[in-house]
Symmetry: none
Subunit: 208 residues, 4 copies
DNA sequence: GATGAATGAGATTTCATTCAT
DNA sequence: AATGAATGAAATCTCATTCAT
């Protein structure tokens, strides 16, 4: 209860100001707690708050999405099945992030902090490992079944995630802009999922 | 001379520690200058150093690559021409980043700082605008010529960039890891460019 | 019952970490009470705990020793009687502290805290007054009886106490040291009492 | 210059409030420096300030005294020579501390902090080692020469130091007291040295 | 121009104490 | 009487920036 109120506040403040710009003062204030209370729930302080947020909210959310869309039980044996499944996955990600704007901000803007510190990077890799494994396994299954062209599955997974992240970055960039500088149409999850799925499955080349 | 020695030092230190972790002390030391001297060359201090670095090195490098591979003069009228041109582009990016590791680190891990501050974001969008416009225009040309399937060109540009960034992120992540946690094969620019081009142009679906 | 369980815990924790290093959290934990309960028994909090400990355990113990060895009723009329009595006193102190290591730690390392605060110093002086008076009176009696050389009795009392404290400090110092740095033989109360008594009564000068 | 101004301020503040009660704020204020300046001179912060103070001022002062009074070259072959030398030593200590009140306060009230931390204790033992060795060696020489009764020299050194410290503690205690609670006459270094020397060399026993 | 000592705002963190339950 | 979550004052320490030399 209290714990999640603190996490809510931390999520908002980290998303708005970034890890370094966020102050415990502001988090405590927004949570309507004293500063010291944070340390009762998260003795590790700022860093622990950040990690828990990533674990529970960022990765937790992504995992829920991937497990809903790409369970091991789902058949990916035909091109249509594969396309439908990955469409669901991409669409799920977009819906999830649309509904959790500040989680998205955390993911996009704060995850790269890990590149400056091996410990943080190790933590991140561990956190995202399950997620990546599930995605990669689904891709491999579809390839094994002959639905997808045989390729190294892990790089394909990175491409897929990179596609989603690329579009999301472009879209939240506009949130941060004063006005009309960026002309992207609003992100409509299902249309965007169609778009990504089409490019990725059918390729950019014109066909007759 | 001095100026670029300072920038070299700043590039290295920002890349290693991130914007917040970098100290002017260390930059000055590595540049073999006094701290005060930095302010003669970059009166705006740390923030200006960061901006100049992005402008001259990150964006400058990207622009050189895109202009080499996708000049307006290059014909993109047939699928093969388009494929070859974009392959050159991706390959150029990968080669550039392979040769400029710390620029890559800046691009991947420090650019997202912009999401926490509208001013910085505006700057970033301006800086990257030319680059994005050139990529987008090339895509649009190939579509207009019938080489590529007609789609909104800007989102496709974001996808393309996102693909490259996704793979690069995965690769520099392993640099930051203790050992053997991540099993990606070493990034070979031309093979990786083949891979990205194939997926993007032909799609993942198996074809007979 | 409860009260003394709390004092036991406080004694241990103060002895181990010093006044400032001790936390009520740890004291409560070791006493197996809630933190709030401490305030039911010792409304003055940390400071009161410390004072009570000094009064009941440090000074209380010292007073018991001095009253056993140097009661007003004990005859100190001859050199042998005086020597025996003070030997008993010193030996009693050493035995007491040997059996109460953490009381000793409190006495040696935490009493000096009083020097930083007149109120605490006043308290300390009051607490130790009875003890010092008894020692001083015994010395004065022995002097009046002609057993000891006439000298100002109070400074002699400080010397005597200082001797004991000096050796004790040297000995507990070795407890705190990593290994073999300090070469003092183990403190054997009766031998050490012999030693102190000999020096103090007979002097260091060689005699024939 | 600056460095010693900071040390002067730190000495005064530590002496007045003790290690824990002292704040860097107050030290900086008294030194008429900004807080940050302290860290230019003493990067280790409060702890380093404290260590340097002990090394340079407390131990440095004691070593100067002991080397002046008890150099290896001084003959301690007869009782009179020994008595004179140790009288000089005690008198030197008392003069030194009379002239350096806050150094005395540091020595008396802050050195015991070491008992709560092995690292600090190790440091203290190292710092005081040279001093103790010199005193002990002088005692041993006097014993070897037959001037003093043969006894273990190190414990005798602790007794001697303990005597001085005991009297000093009694005297600075009165400084901390409101008024007239403590009746010690003012400490007159040479008389007090006579007193200590007499007790220690001739013993307390009355002689005819 | 070059320097680096000085600065102090501002951040994180600790913990004695309170008080509603 | 017993509790321990909540509190926030207060402490240490960092570092971008200034400016006299």
């Amino acid at each position: 209860m209290r714990r999640s109120a603190i996490l809510d506040a931390a999520e908002a403040v980290f998303a708005e100001h970034g890890y370094n710009g966020a102050t415990l003062e502001e988090i405590a204030e927004r949570a309507e707690f004293g500063k010291g209370t944070l340390y009762n729930y998260f003795p590790g302080g700022k860093e622990e708050l950040y990690e828990v947020l990533f674990e529970e909210r960022v990765v937790g959310g992504l995992s829920a999405v991937v497990e809903a869309a790409l369970p091991d039980a789902r058949s990916l044996a035909t091109p249509d099945e594969a396309r439908a499944a990955f469409h669901d996955f991409v669409s799920g990600l977009l819906h999830h992030f649309e509904a959790n704007r500040s989680v998205l901000r955390l993911y996009i803007s704060e995850a790269p902090r890990a590149f400056n510190d091996p410990d943080r990077m190790t933590m991140m890799v561990r956190l995202f490992e399950g997620f990546m494994v599930t995605v990669t396994r689904a891709i491999a299954r579809a390839m094994d079944a002959g639905a997808l062209r045989p390729m190294p599955a892990l790089p394909v997974a990175h491409l897929l995630i990179g596609n989603v992240r690329g579009l999301l970055m472009a879209h939240i960039a506009s949130d941060c802009l004063p006005a009309g500088i960026h002309e992207l149409p609003p992100l409509v999850p299902d249309e965007t999922a169609d778009f990504i799925t089409t490019v990725l499955f059918d390729g950019l080349l014109a066909r007759d």
